[in-house]
């Protein structure tokens, strides 16, 4: 066993982790991502490429099942690190160390293989494939036919996207019917996780509970949330270099408590992204959310003309919202580059609040009102969570989109499913 043991140990020095995000596990995901970047372990793109599964959060039943499918799809040698949502940072490091040790342990790996082949009769190709987001047509049913958007009769394939995919919102499952690589129909589901934590909305929720939270903390969280979304969108757009820059800036804001000196680096990053003509050319016109009848579009960021952006979230919004339309917290109007620009502008705006030690009072989190306090204007109407309006527009935007465009649209909406009610189904098309 000399040579293969040595190769095993050598390879285990640099595993390829696949992250499985779980709702309410955002904090631990961010900690894990920062630690993986620090160690220089490059992320895997699929279960077949991965040898380390990092489950960030405590998945519910449906999501746990999907994670098990991914785990079964991973060839040996493999290791797994389950990070529950409330794990302290130092335990994240320890869990990753433990997984790497397990990966280097030849005896344990051989046992794992023996156990697996024993259980499934030597054929783990029988793993059911639905939900993994990677598999083939699971039960081997033949694809049916149907007319496609170009008037051809093509096979209709059921292609589930998520819930475990790189650069993908934790807990999101988009069941699509695809012809070629064009999405014909999409159905959105939320696979929940255990816990209550809503990492990105935390400062506002804490403030609403009466605890003292500084505006500096809120600014950090806002900027980091948008940088996280930017990292995802840029990675899906195939620009790994800028995606990892966005994530590095995010980590510096959150964990290294970077001060005002980070502003220069953020400006350099935003300038590079804005200047890229290729990026604009590729994203233009994708996922356009048209102007709503009531003109209640959330126009935030740079332009100070929106009455709803000042001060508390209870400030009056556009004139169209008075008619009971549940639209105040929807995604940004416009197309994918428009939403990208919104994130860039809001990141820069949030950084201006860095170092502000005064007490946070508002309700306007990174993705809209966090619902920490009921809106004063209409206490009768239950507050609509921003994530629900995002999920409700998603299927309509995805229909007819080519798969690459669909991924970009989803990344540009980047729903935070920590906000979603923990029901299995959130929206249907």
């Amino acid at each position: 066993m000399g040579l293969s043991e040595r190769l095993l140990r050598y390879a285990a020095g640099r595993p390829r982790p696949l992250l499985a995000g779980v709702p309410h596990g955002t904090r631990v995901r961010l900690l894990a991502e920062a630690e993986l970047t620090r160690r220089g372990w490059p992320a895997a793109r699929s279960p077949a490429e991965a040898d380390l599964l990092v489950v960030c959060g405590s998945p519910g039943a449906a999501l746990a099942e999907a994670v098990e499918v991914v785990w079964a799809d991973m060839p040996a040698p493999r290791a797994r690190a389950d990070l529950p949502g409330d794990l302290p940072p130092e335990r994240v490091t320890a869990a990753l160390d433990g997984a790497a040790r397990h990966l280097a342990d030849g005896r344990a790996q051989r046992l794992d293989v023996a156990r697996r082949t024993g259980r499934s009769g030597g054929d783990h190709g029988q793993d059911e494939d639905h939900g993994s987001g990677m598999g083939g047509p699971g039960g081997l049913e033949m694809a049916g036919r149907g007319p496609d958007r170009d008037g051809l009769a093509l096979d209709r394939l059921c292609l589930p996207l998520g819930p475990v995919l790189p650069d993908w919102p934790a807990g999101l499952l988009v069941e699509t019917v695809a012809q070629g690589d064009v999405v014909q129909e999409a159905r959105v589901e939320v696979l929940g996780g255990a816990g209550e934590e809503r990492f990105w909305d935390e400062p506002w929720l804490e403030a609403a509970r009466g605890r003292s939270v500084t505006r500096d903390e809120a600014a950090r969280r806002t900027a980091a949330a948008h940088l996280d979304s930017l990292g995802r969108l840029l990675a899906v757009a195939g620009w790994d270099a800028e995606a990892s820059r966005a994530r590095r800036l995010r980590d510096r804001l959150l964990w290294e408590r970077a001060g005002g000196e980070i502003a220069g680096d953020v400006t350099r990053f935003t300038r590079r992204v804005r200047r890229s003509r290729t990026l604009r050319w590729m994203l233009r016109g994708l996922g356009t959310i048209g102007p709503a009848p009531g003109r209640d579009g959330r126009v935030r960021g740079g332009a100070p003309d929106g009455p709803g952006t000042t001060g508390d979230g209870s400030a009056p919004r556009g004139p169209g919202t008075a008619g009971g339309a549940p639209g105040p917290a929807g995604p940004d109007r416009g197309d994918v580059p428009g939403r990208l620009e919104g994130w860039l502008a809001r990141t820069e705006a949030a950084l201006r609040g860095l170092g502000d030690g005064t007490r946070l009072t508002g309700d306007e989190g990174p993705r809209g009102p966090v619902g920490g306090r009921p809106p004063a204007a209409s206490p009768a109407a239950p507050p609509v969570s921003p994530v629900l309006s995002v999920l409700s527009v998603m299927p309509g935007l995805l229909a007819g989109a080519e798969l690459a465009a669909a991924r970009l649209i989803i990344a540009s909406l980047d729903p935070d499913l920590d906000q979603a009610p923990s029901s299995r189904e959130a929206a249907r098309a």
């Binding site: 293969s4 220089g40 077949a48 590729m282």
Partner: protein, 313 residues
């Protein structure tokens, strides 16, 4: 390919020394490794990690199981995966290592192009054979990419051949003793670089193996399959960079240093530019790029061909 009668009477090339195939193979392996290391360095990797990274990756795949999908077409996958490095190495046999290539074919440019087209075959078979959706979509993407890049690519190659009046790669390199083709046919050179990136499905043109479809064609590969595929990918990139040297950058011509060293230096420079482009540019999708390719790249490369043709006449 237009039939271009050779301007000089065909000479019988001297025998290539028997060690040249080994030199070629070694050089390509070093270049591929260097490309992977440079890529890791540009991605912010630190010193020992960037050099050992590819080695650790290779060790990892050597001890890994193969992933088995439901009802794969195994022979097709194996053929596709193995065809990738084979096509890269076979394409390289006509490239001069200094003054002489391993095989100095009289139709070297055609041979080079034919081997490149095998990459279409390799990617499509791999994507199709594993019987899984993301690889299949990766295969679709590469076929679309091929339709976008192949014609401009062929016109760029033909332009260089026309400029030298020969399809023999060593003669094309020798024809640039006065002036590099990159200088007097810059459009063809630029088109070659763009199409080389697309052919090696690298950097901005890596959507067939993009992370948005879980690694695309290679999504279900693990173990030796993935090792061979990834090695083939980097070899192909190295060959695409190396071919630019005899075709457009004067081959081994240069002051002071021996030809083989000039060839190596120029190859490394082109390779570095291609690797750097991956970090500089976001992904390019074929549903947008094909329009530019057919409406801009093909006309300008034809125009370049016309200009070169008139000058040569």
């Amino acid at each position: 390919m237009p039939e271009t009668p050779p301007m000089t009477p065909p000479m019988t090339p001297p025998m290539t020394p028997p060690w040249t195939p080994f030199a070629l193979f070694g050089a390509l392996a070093v270049l591929a490794w260097g490309a992977a290391a440079l890529d890791a360095a540009l991605a912010g990797g630190r010193w020992p990690g960037i050099v050992t990274g590819p080695l650790r990756g290779a060790a990892r795949e050597l001890v890994r199981q193969r992933r088995r999908t439901v009802m794969p077409d195994v022979p097709l996958v194996r053929a596709g995966v193995c065809a990738l490095p084979a096509a890269a190495v076979l394409a390289a046999v006509v490239l001069p290592l200094g003054e002489r290539p391993v095989a100095d074919l009289s139709v070297g440019v055609v041979w080079f192009n034919a081997m490149e087209v095998c990459v279409w075959w390799a990617l499509w078979l791999t994507g199709w054979g594993v019987n899984s959706l993301h690889p299949l979509i990766g295969g679709y993407r590469f076929v679309a990419q091929g339709l976008a890049y192949e014609l401009p690519h062929m016109f760029a190659l033909i332009t260089a051949a026309l400029g030298a009046g020969s399809l023999r790669v060593s003669e094309i390199a020798a024809a640039q003793r006065g002036l590099w083709f990159a200088v007097w046919m810059p459009v063809a050179f630029a088109v070659y670089l763009v199409s080389a990136v697309a052919m090696a499905f690298w950097g901005p043109m890596d959507r067939p193996v993009g992370s948005d479809i879980a690694g695309g064609v290679r999504a279900e590969l693990s173990g030796p399959d993935r090792l061979v595929f990834e090695a083939g990918r980097y070899l192909l990139l190295a060959v695409a960079a190396a071919a630019a040297v005899p075709l457009f950058l004067g081959g081994g011509v240069g002051p002071a240093l021996p030809p083989w060293l000039w060839t190596a230096l120029k190859t490394v420079a082109v390779l570095a530019v291609l690797v750097w482009a991956r970090h500089r540019l976001p992904g390019v999708r074929m549903d947008r790029f094909t329009r530019v390719s057919w409406l801009v790249l093909i006309p300008v490369s034809l125009l370049q061909l016309l200009v070169v043709g008139v000058v040569v006449l």
